[in-house]
């Protein structure tokens, strides 16, 4: 029976791999910023079957290989956004303070034009996250921006570790405590909700472990424990199979979660937003927790009032693996610029700044052995910029995923939609929020929006 499953799994995997397009190319003459192995001027990168096979000078392209002329340009690993909500049609399952059983991967939408727009900002992979309405939200999906594929499964980064969204502070207390009159209404309640979920998950895990051990013994007659996917997920977190990505702002709540995780022996945690991470940077470093932050967002709600744009620099200087994220379809178009702000606020080096949008978010998603730097053997997810990527004047020129050019500024057509809504009227402007929407994390849980504009029904980007 087990062999059959393995065979089926192998078949499935091979089918999935066969579907993923992988390119062959030679990128000529760029200033190569490897992130992990220094910088090399006038250097070529040879890509075969979607992977980097050689980095060096004067390489020649085998017959049939595409050549990308990067002379005078800057070639770096594709940008990875560890906090995004693009390419998914549902963000919040805001029906319970704990919804560990749901997946954003079930709502992937390859037609959102935001995918293309992110590519045009040098982004090649995103962590499409559940929202922050629940103390323990749903599981998230790591996607590669293979713009053009129409099968949602083919956007997924096969083999990327499982991740789950947690959320502390104002959002879960507003939705559940203030909105529904149930725990949590306070940060005390958030701690309890999370602790209770871990306690139940642990009991569940132990019951199953006991059953699995006993059932192999001769004469065993017991029944298996009732299956519960929510608790199964909690058990998988305790087993170390899922990385927690926790929406958080205040130092006290960050410290609180570290305490809960210590009690359950959970080590894999990335704090998201973590605006007051700078206040508990030594604790984060000691725990081995990572941080994924905004460059400079603040003041949009009380829990981000005591923020500082120096947050990233303080975290890095204290030894915390830190990334810069977007949480926003607009901001994600210029994460290279957001990373550069850590040079204005804290004078980080070029390598430190660029690591925060490449290898560090890769570490936070557990995909650092595959992407996040330019190294032989790694997947050819590459962004090519006109000027140094930390300059405000730079322009992303090519974005490559698995050795396939998915964005080429020279060949960019105005209208990049893959799906055109036949009912949409052309001359009615889709007047987006022009500033940043700082509550993207609350998408699907925003009663204010619904009250203002009628039923909230997110069916398009």
């Amino acid at each position: 029976m087990k062999q059959l499953y393995t065979a089926l799994l192998l078949l499935f995997v091979s089918v999935a791999f066969a579907q993923t397009e992988r390119g062959n190319m030679l990128i000529k003459g760029g200033n190569v910023l490897t992130i992990t192995r220094g910088n090399m001027e006038n250097t070529d990168i040879l890509v075969r079957d979607g992977k980097i096979v050689q980095i060096g000078k004067n390489l020649t392209a085998p017959a049939g290989f595409q050549t990308v002329d990067a002379t005078g340009m800057f070639v770096m690993p594709g940008i990875i956004d560890a906090h995004s909500h693009i390419a998914i049609d549902a963000v919040n399952e805001a029906t319970s303070p704990v919804t560990a059983e749901v997946f954003t991967g079930d709502a992937v939408n390859p037609f959102q034009v935001s995918i293309y727009r992110a590519l045009a900002g040098g982004v090649t992979a995103v962590h499409s996250m559940h929202g922050s309405a629940n103390a323990i939200g749903g599981q998230c999906e790591t996607l590669k921006l293979r713009w053009g594929v129409k099968d949602p499964e083919r956007l997924k980064m096969d083999g990327a570790p499982r991740t789950i969204k947690f959320a502390l502070g104002e959002n879960p207390t507003r939705v559940h405590g203030s909105g529904n009159g149930i725990v949590p209404r306070t940060r005390m309640g958030v701690e309890f909700v999370i602790r209770e979920a871990f306690a139940q998950g642990k009991a569940y895990m132990e019951a199953w472990d006991k059953y699995n051990k006993e059932k192999t013994q001769k004469g065993f007659r017991g029944a298996p424990p009732a299956y519960n996917y929510r608790l199964e997920t909690m058990a998988d977190i305790i087993r170390g199979n899922i990385i927690i990505h926790c929406h958080s702002y205040r130092a006290d709540e960050i410290y609180m979660l570290l305490g809960v995780l210590k009690d359950y022996g959970v080590k894999k945690v990335v704090f998201q937003h973590v605006n007051e991470g700078f206040k508990v940077a030594p604790e984060l470093a000691e725990f081995g927790a990572m941080a994924s932050v905004f460059s400079d967002w603040w003041a949009y709600k009380f829990e981000v009032y005591y923020s500082t744009a120096y947050n990233a620099a303080i975290l890095v200087r204290n030894g915390v693996t830190t990334s810069i994220n977007s949480d926003d379809a607009e901001l994600m178009r210029h994460l290279y610029h957001e990373a550069a702000k850590s040079q204005k606020y804290g004078q980080l080096t070029d390598d430190e700044a660029l690591a925060m949008i490449t290898i560090n978010p890769a570490k936070q998603l557990g995909i650092e052995s595959r992407v996040g730097s330019l190294e032989v053997g790694k997947e050819a997810d590459i962004a090519i910029f006109k000027n140094h990527p930390l300059s405000v004047y730079t322009v992303p020129m090519f974005t490559i995923v698995d050795g396939i050019v998915r964005f080429n500024r020279e060949k960019d057509a105005d209208d990049q939609r893959l799906f055109v809504d036949p009912k949409a009227t052309i001359d009615v402007t889709l007047y987006q929020n022009l500033g940043h929407n700082h509550d993207n994390c609350m998408e699907g849980a925003e009663y204010e929006t619904a009250r203002l504009f009628g039923t909230f029904n997110k069916t398009e980007q």
Binding site: V113, R117, A120, F278, K279, A281, P282, E283, E286, D296, W298, A299, Y300, K301, F302, Y305, S307, T308, A309, Y310, A313, I314, A329, E330, R333, H334, H337, A340, K341, Q343, K344, G346, Q347, L390, V392, Y393, V395, D412, D414, D415, Q416, R417, T425, I426, V428, T429, L430, Y431, Q432, L434, G435, H436, H438, T449, F453, G454, F456, N457, E460, Q461
Partner: protein, 434 residues
């Protein structure tokens, strides 16, 4: 003993290097006579001066050039290798009117009512708003504070980001704010039918027209009675606009709305008008240019207004309008207190087709001219207000450090709550141990 303590403290402070900086900082501004020597001066209006000096005295720039003598008693600030620019002017913010975005008790930019031009931003500006120092230490020294919401939202005010009461901060320009009725959707969440959208826009436009007609009547009555007309605060606030003495600041974004707004303004022969936002200005740039209506564009770092639009339209928008002949100033347009990013919005416009020089004017002399304060702000010239900053590179470049800011001759302490938190927490003590 006491003296020795002071001495040893001083020695210790000097030895600590970096921390002496924060200890020595005072949160108070300082005025007097300053000589900023040896700098590259981008005057904006009179070219670039290499190895030049700027003298500041009594709040004004008293000399600019290479052959300038330093007055006796002046505090000399060595600017060798550094650059001097006029303070940047942001063309639309809620600075001082908002403290915490989600908390209505801290927000004073959106009064009840559709037609309330009489409510004034200036009276509600909190000189001690946390965001004010955060903004000014980045070289953004001046901001147009704009009431939001409704049709006539109130009266905007230009303020300098230093002072202890609104009158000290006032920079000499006010404008009546109008939100032109939108025929576009407000976002993907806006599920109203096209009919409903049109009805709502028509209703709003009717209300605006009615208000304007009343204001015209009021103007005639006021003129006929030599000011003895009955108290009517809404119309009184519109009088200077009707008479062409005060600017009407029209927030408008969609192409069709911009066209409609141009016609509306022309039909009423309104003399002083600025359009604000103009996200789709590039679509109707020729019309805007022909109508000679200047704009305050932005935010530049924003998403295209339509799914079908090229991804970089918002970045290119200011440059495209300027190329067509429109006078363009910029705004960061960020409702979440990141007006410090104004130079980056300008930098993005420059990266995507505009010239850096024009983008620089769009955050300095152009808004100063639009606001009628070019005699004081927007360039480095003798006789102008000493509102400027010193930095170590191109002010649009992300990593450039601003080292000194002067606002109306006051040397601004280079601290904000954000720098104070940095100083306290970079090397936190105690660390993880009790």
């Amino acid at each position: 003993m006491r003296m020795r303590n002071i001495l040893s403290t001083a020695v210790l402070a000097i030895c600590l290097g970096l921390s002496v900086h924060s200890i020595a900082q005072t949160a108070k501004g300082k005025t007097g006579t300053f000589a900023l020597t040896g700098a590259t001066i981008e005057t904006i209006t009179k070219g670039v001066i290499q190895n030049g000096t700027v003298i500041i005295s009594n709040g004004k720039i008293t000399a600019v050039g290479t052959n300038v003598s330093v007055p006796a008693g002046a505090e000399v600030i060595d600017c060798k290798g550094k650059f001097i620019y006029p303070g940047m002017i942001d063309g639309g913010s809620i600075l001082g009117l908002s403290e915490v975005g989600s908390d209505p008790r801290t927000n004073d930019y959106n009064e009840v009512g559709d037609v309330i031009p009489q409510v004034k931003a200036l009276v509600a500006v909190n000189p001690n708003a946390t965001a004010i120092p955060v903004t000014r230490v980045s070289g953004v020294t001046t901001s147009l504070v704009v009431p939001q919401g409704g049709l006539f939202s109130g009266t905007a005010a230009l303020i300098n980001l230093h002072g202890y009461n609104p009158d000290q901060m006032f920079a000499g320009f006010e404008a009546v704010v109008m939100n032109f009725p939108q025929t576009g959707r407000r976002g993907s969440f806006d599920r109203r039918s096209e009919d409903d959208i049109k009805k709502a826009a028509d209703k709003s436009l009717a209300k605006i027209n009615e208000t304007w007609d009343k204001a015209m009547q009021y103007h005639k009555l006021d003129s006929a009675t030599k000011g003895k007309v009955e108290y009517y605060p809404q119309l009184q606030a519109l009088l200077p606009v009707v008479r062409g003495e005060r600017t009407l600041l029209v927030d408008v974004n969609a192409a069709n709305d911009i066209k409609a707004a141009i016609k509306w303004v022309q039909d009423r022969k309104i003399k002083k008008v600025i359009f604000s936002g103009v996200a789709e200005g590039w679509r109707v740039a020729d019309e805007l240019a022909k109508a000679k209506i200047p704009v305050i564009a932005g935010p530049v770092q924003s998403l295209p207004t339509r799914e079908s639009d090229r991804y970089d339209r918002p970045y290119a928008n200011p440059g495209l309008m300027h190329k067509a002949g429109v006078t363009v100033a910029l705004q960061a347009g960020d409702r979440n207190m990141n007006y410090r990013n104004l130079p980056f919005h300008a930098g993005f416009a420059a990266a995507y087709g505009w010239s850096r020089e024009e983008a620089l004017k769009a955050v300095t002399i152009v808004p100063a001219q639009l606001f009628g304060v070019a005699d004081k702000l927007g360039s480095i010239e003798t006789g102008k207000s000493a509102t400027l900053f010193v930095c170590d590179g191109d002010p649009f470049e992300t990593k450039t450090q601003v080292s000194h800011v002067f606002i109306e001759g006051w040397q601004i302490p280079m601290v904000s709550r954000q720098t104070e938190l940095y100083d306290e927490f970079l090397e936190r003590s105690p660390g993880t141990k009790k």
